[in-house]
Amino acid sequence: MNSTTTTPVVSVTEVTKCFGSVRALHDVSMTVNSGEVVVLLGLSGSGKSTLLRHLNGLERPTCGAVDVLGQTVPKLRPTALRALRCRVAMIFQQFELVPSLTVLENVLTGALGRLRGPRLGLWAYPKALRVDALRRLERVGLLDKAYQRADELSGGQQQRVAIARALMQNPQVLLADEPVASLDPESATQVMDLVREIAAADGLTVVCSLHQVDIALGWADRIVGLRRGEVVMDTKAANLDKAQVMQVYRDLAPGPDVDLDAELVSAGLVSAGYSVSGPA
């Protein structure tokens, strides 16, 4: 678990994904190395979620190869796929907690992949796992909320519970699908900081989709830009500034009828009044 390892943890090769007539991904290739924190950046509908969902086998590519942690994901049989998913945790834009269950039970569901058979209720989980779950909650700063209903928490707290649930898997890879899109700026910062901190401490490989350039720039090691299902940028974040990101999107020369600025502004990629050619 150190940054000198360069074996790719995730490697996506020429993946195309079609939903009926909609082509969500087109010839996408990318790799993520161990311990790397990568952001998938793109407008809504550009295929970020679809790409992430390929990494844990929630979607199968129409063609192309997806390898994660040395396994060819689309080829895995159900049991092997479940075993892989145990090592690849995911958090979601809408947190996806069970609202009527306690926070602790929600965290424990992260351990289901390691257990056999269905579980209902706290006592269905071994004590060791319950202690584990409490430790994860302590780590995200919500130990005192363990026995509250999940829907009694604020959005930011719920996302932290979801992170605790992901940590329950002792994952090697963390996938995050727009983890802060439903949060206010303060909670968003808190959640992004928490993910970064945990990734550094545990040596996690992180693939996170975002649509806000500002958040991505200060946060990621590397940014992969997606546009209409195609990779249009793949650069170290350190070398980037906002204008360059904008330039990449602009250079793609959309049809003359597309107002890119408006499109980007409405998607939150840039603030209103911003223009690539200079301040308005």
């Binding site: 009527s100 289901l112 202690v131």
Partner: protein, 614 residues
């Protein structure tokens, strides 16, 4: 129309407008739909006349009733000990039957619901189970199962209720599953969970409240219908009532007394189940009956929505998502961002993992535990009271009993005979629905907030509807048949009575759902109260009225079948005869298929009409 021609005659320039205006399209389907409705209404009237609701026959049955009352012994109850035993037995059988259906319904609903079903063909299997179990009346099942159990055992009744109730519970439960949030399920899948783990960890907790509400609702229905199981030899109040009514005149007072006990029991337990729903689920009592009403009055609360929508709304409330701006994130909400980031994450240092290992005994935890153990105790007590055990099953007869239903046959009868019987049952259903409709529209409109002239009138008619609904219609039917000596006519009156309670409530609710703004707009044009009713309330409420009426026909067909068992005619008569003899079970299958096809036909008509008058 006439005003139109008048104005155009007065102002020649406007003729132009009429010619330029688009022609009104002739809506063929609307005309056909209206024709169908008129035809069904005519059929109801025809059925009422065929069933001899003539003045003379009414007079003679009145005379019979008067004679019966004058000659029968005074109303009495069984000795207290016996009465307690009978009540316990009836409740126990209903509890066990409902519990059995509740458990079986979980996997059935799981394979039925589009979002959890493992495969499309399993969905069809699940639907078939639901449809078939709903089509076969519980009392028929109880009669048909009799052979497979030791005489006097409560098991045939329990199995009959347990199987028949699967249809409704699994249908409503599957609906709730389909409305549940898919996100948590995906989260469990992404964490490596299996299908079963997905269901129990993510789906079931979401739909648990609606499952409990449905099961309690079904418990009420089963209790109301349980008296009829006495006619299949299942012990309890129904059986005691039947035995009492077999002796004239000395048993009638006792029979009537037991009927009153059943009525009171239904109301009391509806209060109990409504209270549970309220406390356990924090939802309004969904019961349309007296019990739910009493709870609402006692707690000073009025339902916000009609019963159907409430469950849905409840499920949605559980599945709602928090907005980004809802509430403090941590204890340091007021601290500026950078300060907060500097604060240690483990700011709750006083709370340790060891201390948190034990769930605190909060009020809600105690309450939930008490409910769970009460439910367990109730089921255990029911087992003990109903005195059931596996040794009461005659295993040698189980398989032959199941096999005896196939293939379907006509026995010594012909298709014509069965069709004739089916026609009579359908006539009873339509006649009762027709009577209910007339009274429901009047009572329901007067019970609707936006139609009733004063709040007092509304309240009065709401209570009238509750009283109508509170009477278990089959007990009323038995009573009327015993007292008047009539068969199907008495049944029609009983079904119509219960139907007014149900349909009137639905009518009132559908009128109240008419958007207020719409009515205000019409009032603002200077329309009178009556004009407002016919120009806004009625057209908006009409489609619901049509589909609710046909829903009533559907439940009436099922209920009218059972009337045959207690002394009416129609298919119920043939089913009763055939279900008690194993070699005749093929006929039961034939008749159930015929009922089923008829009900499907009514449902198809209802769906089509709903689309036409949308």
């Amino acid at each position: 129309m006439t005003t139109h021609t008048d104005t155009s005659a007065a102002a020649p320039g406007e003729v132009d407008v009429v010619t330029r205006a688009p022609r009104r399209r002739v809506a063929v389907d609307k005309i056909a739909g209206l024709g169908l409705i008129v035809a069904m209404l005519a059929f109801s009237v025809h059925a009422l006349s065929r069933l001899d609701f003539s003045w003379s026959s009414m007079r003679s049955s009145m005379d019979t009733a008067v004679t019966t009352f004058s000659r029968m012994d005074p109303i009495s109850l069984p000795p207290a000990g016996d009465l307690v035993y009978l009540i316990g037995l009836t409740v126990g059988i209903v509890v066990l039957g409902t519990a059995m259906a509740a458990v079986i319904s979980v996997p059935v609903a799981w394979i039925c619901a589009a979002n959890t079903s493992p495969s499309p063909w399993l969905r069809w299997v699940g639907r078939a189970i639901g449809v078939i179990t709903r089509a076969v009346p519980d009392v028929v099942l109880a009669m048909a199962f009799a052979m497979a159990f030791v005489l006097g055992s409560a098991l045939p009744g329990i199995f009959a209720l347990g199987i028949h109730s699967i249809g409704m519970i699994s249908k409503l439960f599957a609906d709730a599953i389909e409305q549940s949030d898919d996100g948590p399920r995906q989260a469990v899948r992404a964490a490596g969970g299996s299908r079963a783990q997905e269901f129990w960890a993510a789906t079931f907790p979401q739909v648990l409240p609606s499952w409990i509400a449905t099961v309690l609702h079904r418990f009420d229905i089963n209790l109301r219908g349980s008296a009829i199981l006495g006619y299949a030899g299942v012990g309890g109040l129904g059986y005691a009532m039947r035995v009492a009514f077999q002796q004239f005149p000395e048993g009638y007072g006792r029979g009537l007394g037991i009927a009153i006990v059943i009525f009171v029991l239904c109301v009391v337990l509806e209060i109990v189940s409504s209270t549970i729903r309220r406390h356990l689920l924090g939802t309004d009592p969904a019961g349309r009956g007296l019990g739910g009403r009493i709870v609402r009055v006692a707690t000073g609360d009025r339902p916000a929505r009609p019963a159907g929508g409430r469950l849905t709304a409840f499920v949605q409330r559980l599945g709602r998502r928090p907005s980004s701006a809802d509430g403090p994130v941590g204890t340091n909400r007021t601290a500026p961002g950078f300060v907060r980031r500097l604060l240690p994450r483990h700011r709750d240092a006083e709370v340790s993992v060891e201390a948190m290992l034990h769930r605190p005994w909060t009020g809600s935890r105690v309450r939930n535990l008490v409910w769970v153990w009460t439910a367990v105790a109730l089921v255990v007590a029911s087992f003990w009271w109903a005195d059931v055990n596996a040794s009461q099953i005659t295993w040698d007869y189980v398989l032959p009993t199941v096999q005896s239903f196939w293939p379907p046959s006509y026995g010594s009868h012909s298709f014509g005979e069965f069709a004739q019987a089916m026609l009579i049952t359908v006539e009873v259903a339509f006649a009762a629905a027709g009577l209910s409709l007339v009274f429901s529209v009047v009572f329901g409109a007067l019970a609707a907030r936006n139609v009733a002239p004063t709040p007092g009138v509304r309240q009065f008619f709401r209570v009238v509807l509750v009283v109508f609904r509170g009477v278990p219609e089959l007990v009323l039917a038995i009573f009327l048949i015993m007292i008047t000596g009539l068969g199907n006519q008495a049944g029609v009156i009983a079904l119509a009575f219960g139907g007014v309670g149900l349909l009137g409530k639905l009518v009132a609710d559908s009128f109240e759902e008419v958007p207020r703004g719409l009515e205000r707009a019409v009032t603002a044009t200077g329309a009178t109260r009556t004009q407002r009713f016919f120009s806004s309330t009625w057209p908006v409420g009409f489609p619901a009225l049509v589909s609710n009426s046909l829903y009533l026909v559907d439940t009436n067909i099922r209920a009218a079948t059972i009337l045959g068992i207690v002394g009416g005619g129609g298919v119920g008569f043939y089913i009763t005869q055939a279900s008690t003899v194993m070699s005749l079970h093929g006929q039961v299958t034939t008749l159930v298929i015929m009922i089923f096809v008829t009900v499907l036909l009514v449902e198809a008509i209802s769906t089509w009409l709903r689309r036409v008058f949308r």
